[in-house]
C-alpha cells in the first residue's frame, strides 16, 4: 500500500487542469501550433479544391485558358506555406513536448529532494523512478501533439464538411450520415483493444520475470532437477501470450476493416447519388470522393486521442500525487527564516553543533506501521560517546538512527541535540554535521575525488589526502590507474565492495562530522578490509558522538552502551559485560557469532 494510492482521486477533464501551470510556460508556442495546425488543415482542404478546379475548369473546358501560370503560382504557394507550417509546427511541437517533459521531471526530482524517509521506505526505487521518468515523459505530448493534431483533425473535419455542404448539401449530408455510425463502432473496438493490450502487457511482464527466474534461479532449478516443469510453466505462459496477441490483432483487424468499409461506403454513396452532381463537374465528383474517404482518418484519430487521454490521465494522476506528497519532516517557517532551507541555506546563521543527543520520553510509530516501536524511551548520549545497536537483519536497528538524523520525527516526545529540540534548527544544519557510512556503500557516478568531495565540497587536497590515509584508502587509490581521478562507474561498480566502503569512509571523515553513524559498515567486506576499517573506526570516533549499527558483535564490545533490538523493540540495554552476564538475547546472539568467528579464525590461521 503506498501513500499515493491513499490519496488517489479522480481527476476531471483528463487531469489537464493539473498540468496547466506547466503548459503556461509554453503558452505562445502552443497557440502558434494550434494556428499552424489550422493553416495546414486549411491547405489540405484547399488542395483538394485545387484538384477539383483543374478537373472542372481545365479538363472539362478542354483548355488551360491561360490560367495555368496563376494556377501553378497559387498551388505551389500553398505547398510552400504548407511545408513551412509543417516544419514549424512539428519542430515546435516536439520542442514543447520535450521541454515540458523536462520541466515535469525537474519538478518531480526537486520535490523528491524535499521528501522525508517515510516516502522512500514505502515506495520502491523502481516505483519512484518510474514516476520521475516515465510518467512525465507521457504528459508533454498531450500539450503539444495532441493540441496540434486535435486542431488539425477537427478543423479538417469541419472544413471538409463545410466545403461539401456549400457545394452540395444533400450529398454532403448523406456522406456524413456514416460518421456517427463509424464513431460508435470505433469506440466499441477501442475499449476492447485497451483491455486486450493491458492483458498482453501483463503477460509480457510475466514472461520477462519467468526468464529472470530461470536465469537467477538456475542453480536451484538444477539441484531440484525441475527444468521440465519450469519449461512447461513457461510454455504455458507463452501460449497464453500468443493467444491474446492474436485476439488483439483480430480486434485491430476489425477496427481497420470498419474503417475501410466505411470509407468505401462513403465512396459508394457518392457514386450511387452521382446524379446530384452535374455531369459537367467531374471535379466535384472526385472532391466528394476525396473528402468522404479523408474524413475517416480524423474520426479514428479523435477516438484514439480519447483513449490516449485516458491513459495519460493515469500518468498525470501519479505525477500530481507525487507532487502532493508532503514530507513529514518539515522545518518550521521560523527555522527556515533563520537557517535557510535545503537548497538555499543561510550558513552564516548556523550555530555550532557539539554532539550531545538526548531522547526525551520518545514514542515512535512508523508512518506506515501500527505498532509502537519505541514507547516512552529516554536515553542520554553524551557528546563523544559510542553507542552500538545490535540485532538480526530486519529487526529494526535503524529506528534510533532515523530519529537522531531526523529522517523521521518522533510521534511523541523530543529528540534533543545539544539540549535543544532538534526541530528548532534546520534539517540541513543537522545533516551537515552528520557522517554516515552504510552497509552497502553508495558511491555516485564520477571520479573518486568527486565522491570524496561529496562529504565536503570545500575540502582541500591536503584534507582529502589525510582523510584517505586515515582509513587506509590510500592503498586503494594507489592501485587505481588515475588515482583520485579514476572514474568509479555507475554506483561505484568499478570498485569492489571493500574499496567502495573505504572510500565512503573517507568521505564521511571529510565531512568532519560531530555525529558519526556507521550502519553495518563492515558487514560486506572481507576480514582484512574489516580489520583496516575497524582500526579506522577506532581512530575516527575519538571526540565524536558515534552510533554503530553492528553486524559483527566482536567489533562493538567496547562500546559505551549496547542496545539489543528484536522485532523492532529494544529488548536489552547495557555494556557488553552487563549483557553477557545477563545471559539473555544478546548473550545468545553473541555466543553464536563467537562460535562462527572462532571457527573461521582457526580455519584460516592453521
Amino acid at each position: 500500500m503506498t501513500q499515493e494510492n491513499k490519496t488517489r482521486t479522480k481527476l476531471r477533464f483528463f487531469g489537464i487542469g493539473k498540468i496547466l501551470p506547466f503548459m503556461k510556460t509554453f503558452k505562445n508556442l502552443i497557440i502558434l501550433m494550434a494556428v499552424l495546425g489550422l493553416i495546414t488543415s486549411l491547405i489540405d482542404v484547399a488542395i483538394t479544391l485545387f484538384q477539383r478546379y483543374a478537373l472542372n475548369n481545365f479538363v472539362e473546358k478542354g483548355s488551360f485558358a491561360g490560367r495555368l501560370p496563376m494556377y501553378l503560382i497559387v498551388y505551389v504557394g500553398a505547398i510552400v506555406v504548407q511545408t513551412l507550417a509543417t516544419y514549424f509546427s512539428c519542430s515546435r511541437a516536439m520542442t514543447v513536448e520535450v521541454s515540458m517533459n523536462r520541466d515535469l521531471r525537474q519538478a518531480a526530482f526537486t520535490h523528491l529532494q524535499t521528501l522525508s524517509f517515510s516516502y522512500f521506505n514505502q515506495n520502491s526505487v523502481g516505483y519512484i523512478h518510474a514516476r520521475v521518468l516515465s510518467d512525465t515523459s507521457r504528459i508533454g505530448s498531450l500539450a503539444s501533439w495532441t493540441v496540434m493534431d486535435g486542431v488539425w483533425h477537427t478543423s479538417y473535419l469541419v472544413f471538409a464538411a463545410g466545403v461539401m455542404l456549400a457545394i452540395n448539401w444533400k450529398l454532403a449530408l448523406m456522406v456524413m450520415a456514416i460518421v456517427p455510425l463509424v464513431a460508435v463502432l470505433f469506440s466499441v473496438f477501442q475499449k476492447k483493444l485497451i483491455r486486450a493490450n493491458r492483458e498482453i502487457r501483463e503477460i509480457n511482464s510475466n514472461i520477462t520475470s519467468n526468464f529472470n527466474e530461470g536465469i537467477t534461479g538456475a542453480k536451484t532449478v538444477k539441484t531440484l532437477a525441475i527444468e521440465s516443469s519450469m519449461e512447461k510453466r513457461f510454455v504455458d505462459e507463452t501460449a497464453k501470450m500468443r493467444k491474446r496477441s492474436v485476439e488483439a490483432s483480430r480486434i485491430r483487424g476489425l477496427f481497420a476493416a470498419t474503417m475501410n468499409l466505411a470509407s468505401s461506403a462513403a465512396l459508394a454513396i457518392v457514386l450511387w447519388k452521382n446524379d446530384l452532381i452535374s455531369s459537367e463537374e467531374v471535379g466535384t465528383f472526385s472532391l466528394f470522393m476525396s473528402y468522404a474517404q479523408g474524413m475517416m482518418e480524423p474520426i479514428r484519430w479523435l477516438i484514439d486521442a480519447i483513449s490516449d487521454l485516458i491513459t495519460t490521465q493515469v500518468n498525470i494522476e501519479r505525477f500530481t500525487n507525487l507532487l502532493a506528497v508532503r514530507s513529514d519532516v518539515i522545518d518550521s517557517p521560523e527555522v527556515i527564516e533563520k537557517d535557510g532551507d535545503s537548497f538555499e541555506p543561510k550558513k552564516e546563521n548556523w550555530e555550532p553543533l557539539k554532539g550531545d543527543i538526548k531522547f526525551d520520553d520518545v514514542s515512535f510509530v512508523y508512518p506506515d506501521g501500527e505498532e509502537e516501536v519505541l514507547s516512552h524511551f529516554s536515553m542520554t548520549i553524551p557528546y563523544g560517546s559510542n553507542i552500538a545497536i545490535v540485532g538480526e537483519t530486519g529487526a529494526g536497528k535503524s529506528t534510533l538512527v532515523n530519529l537522531v538524523c531526523r529522517f523521521y520525527e518522533p510521534t511523541q516526545g523530543r529528540v534533543l541535540i545539544d539540549g535543544r529540540d532538534a526541530r528548532e534548527r534546520s534539517q540541513l544544519w543537522l545533516h551537515s554535521h552528520i557522517g554516515y557510512v552504510l552497509q552497502n556503500p553508495h558511491l555516485f557516478s564520477g571520479t573518486v575525488r568527486e565522491n570524496l568531495l561529496y562529504g565536503n565540497p570545500d575540502a582541500t587536497p591536503e584534507q582529502i589526502e589525510r582523510a584517505v590515509k586515515l582509513v587506509s584508502a590510500d592503498e586503494v587509490v594507489a592501485r587505481l590507474e588515475k588515482g583520485l581521478d579514476t572514474d568509479v562507474g555507475e554506483g561505484g561498480d568499478l570498485l569492489s565492495t571493500g574499496e567502495k566502503q573505504l572510500i565512503s569512509f573517507a568521505r564521511a571523515i571529510l565531512a568532519d562530522p560531530r555525529i558519526l553513524i556507521l550502519d553495518e559498515a563492515t558487514a560486506s567486506v572481507d576480514t582484512i578490509t574489516e580489520q583496516k576499517i575497524q582500526a579506522a573506526i577506532d581512530e575516527v570516533i575519538k571526540g565524536r558522538t558515534s552510533i554503530v549499527i553492528a553486524h559483527r558483535l566482536s567489533t562493538i564490545r567496547h562500546a559505551d552502551c549496547i542496545l539489543a533490538v528484536r522485532d523492532g523493540k529494544i529488548v536489552e540495554q547495557g555494556t557488553h559485560k552487563e549483557l553477557i552476564a545477563k545471559k539473555g538475547y544478546y548473550y545468545d546472539m553473541y555466543t553464536r557469532q563467537y562460535e562462527d568467528e572462532e571457527a573461521a579464525k582457526i580455519l584460516s590461521s592453521v
Binding site: L72, C90, S91, Q106, N212, A225, E227, F234, A256, G491
Partner: protein, 606 residues
Amino acid sequence: MNKQTEKRERRKLVFFFLKGAKAFFVISILSSALSALADMISPQIIRMAIDNVIKNEPADYAKPVMRVVNAFGGFEYFKTHIWILALGVMAVALVKVITQYTFRVYNTKGGETLVKTMRDKLFGRIERLPFSWHMKNKTGDIIQRCTSDIDTLRNFISEQMTGIFRIVIMLTLSLIFMVTMNPLLTLIAVIPMPVIVIYSFHFHKTVRDQFQVCDENEGKLSAMVQENLTGVRVVRAFGREKTELDKFSAHNKYYTSLWVQVSKSLAGFWSSMDALTALQILAIVVMGCHLCIKGSMLPGEYVSFISYNMMLIWPIRQLGRMISEMSKASVSVERIHYIMKSEEEKDEPGAGEADMSGDIAFKNVTFAYENCPDILKNVSFTAESGKTLGILGGTGSGKSTLMFLLDKLYDLPENGGSITVGGVDIRRIRTDYLRRNIGMVLQEPYLFSRTISENIGITNEGMTLTEIREAARDACLDDAIMGFTQGYETKVGERGVTLSGGQKQRTAIARMLTQKTPIMILDDSLSAVDTETDAKIRKALEKHFGKTTVIIISHRITTLQKCDKIVVLDKGSVAETGSHDELKDAGGIYSLIYQSQSGLGEEAVS
C-alpha cells in the same frame, strides 16, 4: 569460423525458429497480395463510372471486363442502374477488408508463433546450459537477448519482411495499371520515387545515430535518478540535496536540448517529404490535365490515376525506413545465436542409474574453477550409506565445491579423481536421475515467486497440502506461515512478502524434505536461524534421516557433533577425519574449534 559459415548458421537458426510459423506467413503474404489486387479494382470502377457512364465515352477495355459489362447490357444499362457500380465498390471493399483482415491476423499468428518458438527454445536452452555458463554470463545481458533481441527479430520478419513484400506487390500492381492507362504520366509519377526511398533511407540511417545519443543520455539521466534514490540516505545524511539537484538540472537540460536538435531534423525531413510528395501530385495534376485537354486521357482515367498514385505514396515513404532498420536484425540474430549455440549439459553415452542409497565415495578429487588455482586437492573420504557425515571448513576451503561436484553442477575433469555413489562413478549416472535423488539445501536458498506451498512442493505438482505442511512443520516453519494472512497461499518474492534469511532457509529445508531423497545435503543451511530453532530443526530432521545418507556442512560444532563421521577440510585438503569423540581431543583443528566454542563464557567477557 569464417564469415560465410557464420552467415549460414544464422540463416539456419532463423529457419529453425520459423518452423510452424512459415505457413502463417505464406497465407498472410498471399492475402496481402489479394488485398492489393482488390485495391486496384475500385479506381477502375470509378473510372468506368466517370468515363463510360456519366460521360458516355466509348469503352475499350480488356475482353473479360467487357464481357461482364455486356452481361449487364452494356454501359447504357448502368446509366439507370449506377447503384450496381456502387454495390461493386462495396463488394470489392468487402474482398479487400476480408483479405486485409486475414493478412493482419495471419501475420500476427506467424509473428507470435515465431516469438513463442524463440522464447520457448531459449528458455529451454538456458535451463539446460551448464552452471558454469550461468556464472560466466550476466543476467541482465541474457534477459536483454531474450526480450528486446527477440522483438527485433520478430519485427524484422513480421513487419519489415512482410511489409516490403506488401509494398513491392502494391507497387508492381499499381504500376501495371498506371502504365496501361498512361505510360507518360506513370513516368512522371515514378521519377521522384527513387529519390524519396533513398532520401528516406539515408535520413533514417543518420537520425538513428542521433536517437542513439539521445538514448544514451536518457540512460545517464535515468542512472542519475536511480543513484539519487538508492543513495537517498547518503544524500540526506550529508545534506547534499542542492548538489544533486544541480547535477540533475544540468543533465536534464542537456538531454532535452539533444531532443530539440532531433526535432529539427525530423521536422525538416517530414516537411520536405511532404513538399516532395505534394509537388509530385501537382506535376501529375498539371500533366494529367494537359493530357486530358490534348485528348489522350479521359477524366475518369485521370481521377483513377490519381487514386493509384495516392496509394503508392505512403508505402514508398515507409520503404526507406524499413530498409534502414533491417540491419538491426542481424545483430540480434547473432546475439540470440550466442545462447543457442552454447552447449547444453550432456551425459556420457550409456549413462544410467545407480543405487543411490549406497556409499558416496570421493577419491582423490582435485578440482579448479576456470582460470583459478586448485580449490580441492586430492580429497578422499566416504559418506557411508544411511549415516550422517559432517564437513567442517572455513570460507574458501572448498566444502561447497565438493557438493557442487557431487550434484554435477560442475563436471569433474577426467584426471580429477572420482566420485562414486553405490560404487558407480557419477559420470556414468544420468544427471537428472542423480539430482532427483539428491536433496540439497544451498547456503543462500533461492525461492521462486510463487506461493509458499508451491515453493515447498515444487518438485512434485501433485503434492497434497498435508504433505507440504508436514515438511514445513519439521522445518519449524509452519507457525511463521500460519502467521501470514494468506497462510500457505502467501506469495513470496518480488510481488509478495519478503521472507527473512532464516525463513528462506527453512523453506528450502522443507522443500528438500518433500523430495524424500536417499541423499540429503545441508550446506550451511541453518546459518541464519537462531540457536533455539536450529536445535529444534535438527531434532526434527533426525527422524527423517533414518535410512538417508546425510551430509551436513557447517562450522558450528553443535551442528556437527552428532554426525557419525566428521571430515575437517582445510584449504582444499582433508585435515582430519573421525567422530566427534575421536576428534575433540585429538589436538587438531577440530579440537581447537571445539575448545573455543565451548569455553566461551569466560573468554568472551574478558
